[in-house]
Amino acid sequence: MDANLLTNLMTPPILFFFFGVFVRLIGSNLEIPPALTKFFSLYMLMAIGIKGGTAMAESGLGQDGMIVIGSAVLMSMLVPLYSYPILRIRLKNLYDAAAIASCYGSVSAVTFIAASSFITKLGIDYGGYMVVSLVLMESPAIVMAVLLATTVRSKEVRGTSVQIQRKSPALPMKKILHEAFTDGTHLMLIGSLVIGAVTGIEGKKAMEPFTGGIFKGMLSFFLLDMGLSVASRLREMKDVGVFLVGFGVVMPILNGVIALSIAYFLGFGMGDAFLFIILVASASYIAVPAVVRYAIPEANPSLYFTMALAVTFPFNIIIGIPLYYKMVSVIWGG
């Protein structure tokens, strides 16, 4: 790998991520209180939403935007669909397969942030509608997972009744959709996006010192915290097992390549293509697990959460971003 890798890794926020991992691994007592984590993550969602919304207000959606968004939504449904059979190869608990598939259909906002700083630094542009794509990729992935889980459940009832007692009292789809659409992090992002779009250039100016100026600093804290959490999850890695760790590394690449092909054939701009790949290749460890835990209690959250957070997230930050960029820059001739 070349200098671009370093470009991505040598910024304070990313270094604070590694620092966080290191700190936890050597057994330090450094802790970020949950209230602060909440602050940093709500802040991130507000900042990214305002930024995307005000960008949209300036340039509008346009046809390009519609195509990107449509592709994003489609991928968030397709990824779970083709991930599920792959996961079934080895997983006995099919609920786990459904839950994991859902996380990979959805996205990681922090990976998106890191990737967009990365290309911004390289002077490459992208559309405000990328944030809209980010937002819209959450719910479809969840719906797909719930549908898969429902299939498993109905089969189970027809099959042996040994585990029936433990079976979840089937939650009505309406309740699950409500959870999916009203999840706090999801709404915070949508709300900020809409507020950014509504207030436009004026709103951007008013919010800039907060959502722009101190952004890198707040991101540093957030990534420090992520680093601590990632390292804490490493002890669950043995439960995750080789197959799933492999899935967490290979799947982003596979998803990325598929996304790249789509972006190429649909003629995305270079920045849009890169971020589209990032969205498809990343996995959710915030919004989706929160809803899936509720909707598919039979699945073990340690698996899907740990894979998305402690395997795929660092993989994308360290290897994925420069790798996808390399691929894009070769093809788009950047």
Partner: protein
């Protein structure tokens, strides 16, 4: 126990945080006069470490207790038991003397 309190049952429930509302509605439907919530506890059980991450509630627990009579306590524990088949949690019942303000004697 010797005090001027009323002999009651204390039902304590540890439950994963996102299911707290469900436990509250179980208690409400069982007819409790009130409850107290400890919104953020962590722990370990047979479902592994639930150590609380700030950015997701998935691994957080909450605790709630109610002081109530034996019949209601039983009703709650039966309902809650169903819940903890699927979600992390534990139900604890113990004896307690409760001192209410006078105008609450009827509960």
């Amino acid at each position: 126990m010797a005090s001027d309190g009323k002999k009651m049952k204390k039902v304590e429930i540890v439950i994963e945080a996102m299911m707290l509302d469900k436990v509250i509605s179980i208690m409400d439907q069982a007819g409790v006069s009130g409850y107290t919530i400890l919104p953020s506890v962590t722990g370990r059980g047979h479902r592994g470490h639930r150590t609380g991450f700030g950015f997701t509630d998935v691994f957080n627990n909450a605790m709630i207790f109610t002081l109530t009579d034996e019949a209601i306590a039983l009703k709650i524990s039966q309902e809650a038991k169903k819940l903890i088949q699927n979600y992390a949690g534990v139900v604890i019942i113990s004896d307690a003397d409760v001192v209410w303000p006078d105008y609450q004697k009827d509960r």
